[in-house]
């Protein structure tokens, strides 16, 4: 049992459904930005999205081809490991189920790689069943560069560092290979409801 902090009462609990806020998180209305380096800015005519690694046939899409894929608009809650949660965020993008439909593989893991050199690792399971997207539109507007535009991975059931900004491709791997933050003290899986923040959680 945690010790009581003398004189701490917390602020009046806001009008949010506690069932939507994972342990240790608080709700914000703004949209904080966290990145480990400068914001990369790739011109759309040079942008492509690639699926490769240990799969039978690799695929790539140009920006125009990517926009022509069937898209979904959906509303989800997002949870950052630095403690903020933002409820009811509305995005448009392509479901990973659509992108991975024709992929034949025995590999169970994926590394998402990005402009700027960022990587994050996920299991194929966490990317399937309508729980992951590549999004390019936030709240009805093209996704801003500082929030990961032109396109980012969105995996809202995991902490937000898994939702890699400036994503350019997915590489299938046979083994689970820890990515950037996963090598730097953060949990390999990152389920906010189990508070999997750091190594050993």
């Amino acid at each position: 049992m945690a010790p009581i902090s003398r004189g701490f009462h917390g602020r009046p609990r806001r009008d949010v459904d506690p069932a939507r806020v994972p342990p240790g998180q608080y709700v914000v209305n703004d949209f904080p930005v966290l990145s480990a380096g400068p914001t990369p800015r790739t011109p759309l005519e040079q942008w492509s999205f690639a699926i490769g690694g240990e799969i039978a046939a690799k695929s790539t899409w140009t920006w125009e081809q990517f926009l022509a894929l069937p898209a979904e608009t959906f509303t989800v809650d997002i949870h950052c490991v630095t403690k903020w949660s933002k409820l009811g965020t509305r995005w448009t993008g392509v479901s990973l189920d659509t992108l991975l439909e024709s992929v034949e593989t025995e590999a169970g893991y994926v590394t998402a790689w990005c402009d700027g050199g960022y990587t994050t690792n996920l299991s194929l399971k966490d990317l399937s069943a309508g729980r992951a997207w590549i999004v390019y539109d936030f709240d009805g507007q093209p996704l801003e560069a500082e929030h990961g535009g032109p396109a980012r991975l969105l995996v809202p059931h995991l902490y937000f560092w898994k939702s890699a900004k400036w994503v350019r491709g997915l590489t299938f791997t046979a083994e689970d290979e820890p990515g950037f933050w996963e090598q730097a003290g953060y949990n390999n899986h990152g389920d906010p409801w189990k508070e999997e923040r750091y190594w050993g959680d």
Binding site: P3, I4, S5, Y26, V33, S35, G37, W84
Partner: protein, 249 residues
């Protein structure tokens, strides 16, 4: 990964005693904690603070560590966000002798130790100075002369954190410091008086050809603009380490 050796030990909670509280400015206080049981840290890392109300309600936030790994105590500097929940408690209510629950150290990217070498360019906006101060204190504790440039932006001289200690550091060999005061300046001010820009960053150096390790910390718009300017003047993005914070508190 910034020279941090990955030891994948669980990061646990520690109950530390507040030994001193220092007012740094009208908005910021340094909380000095007894470090018994603290596993140590690398300059630039942060920790989580957890507060627990009598009814069991808890609130957690992350704060940068201000003290050097070599320091006798563990120190955080907290800027009070008026409509915040945790920072007003830490900056107003917390007293010497209280216990504070902290968990860490956290983060293996925005870190520097003397062994990583230099030259170094540190660029701070407001309370973004905190983790960079840990690096300067680490540098001083190790008595190294590694070429280090600090550029700190603050609204006014009175808002600049650690100004007396920084002034004392001015004579350290290899250390150059420049300040820019964006809102108000003392009458005899001879430093910069505008937002950090490419010209200022070029003047501070080190030059791109010297391949400095660069650490930028501050509010999001500050970090975005400084990091963009550094890329524009030719620094490789991979040399630019950033830490951004929003107004949540």
């Amino acid at each position: 990964m910034g020279g941090l050796t990955p030891t994948r030990a669980p990061i646990r909670w520690h109950e530390l005693t507040v030994v001193e509280i220092i007012a740094e400015s009208d908005h910021a206080k340094t909380i000095v904690l007894d470090r018994s049981g603290w596993p140590g840290h690398v300059a630039g890392q942060h920790l989580d603070v957890r507060l627990t109300a009598e009814d069991g309600y808890q609130a957690e936030r992350s704060y940068s560590i201000a003290s050097a790994p070599e320091d006798a105590h563990l120190a955080l500097t907290v800027e009070r966000i008026d409509d915040g929940e945790v920072s007003p408690y830490l900056a107003v209510e917390l007293r010497q002798g209280d216990q504070l629950e902290v968990r860490g150290p956290i983060g293996g990217h925005f870190t520097w130790r003397v062994e990583n070498g230099g030259p170094l360019l540190l660029v701070a906006g407001g309370s973004g100075l905190v983790p960079l101060m840990a690096m300067l204190r680490h540098r001083a504790a190790r008595k190294t002369t590694i070429d280090t440039r600090l550029l700190a932006s603050s609204r006014s001289w009175e808002d600049l954190l650690y100004r007396e200690e920084l002034t004392r550091m001015l004579g350290e060999e290899g250390l150059t410091m420049q300040f820019t005061l964006t809102r108000s300046r003392p009458p005899d001010w001879s430093g910069f008086d505008r937002r950090v820009d490419a010209e200022m960053l070029t003047l501070i150096g080190p030059r791109v050809s010297e391949r400095p390790r660069i650490f930028v910390c501050g509010p999001t718009p500050f970090v975005e603009s400084v990091a963009d300017a550094l890329v524009d003047i030719g620094h490789p993005p991979s040399a630019i380490h950033t830490e951004r914070f929003g107004p949540s508190g």
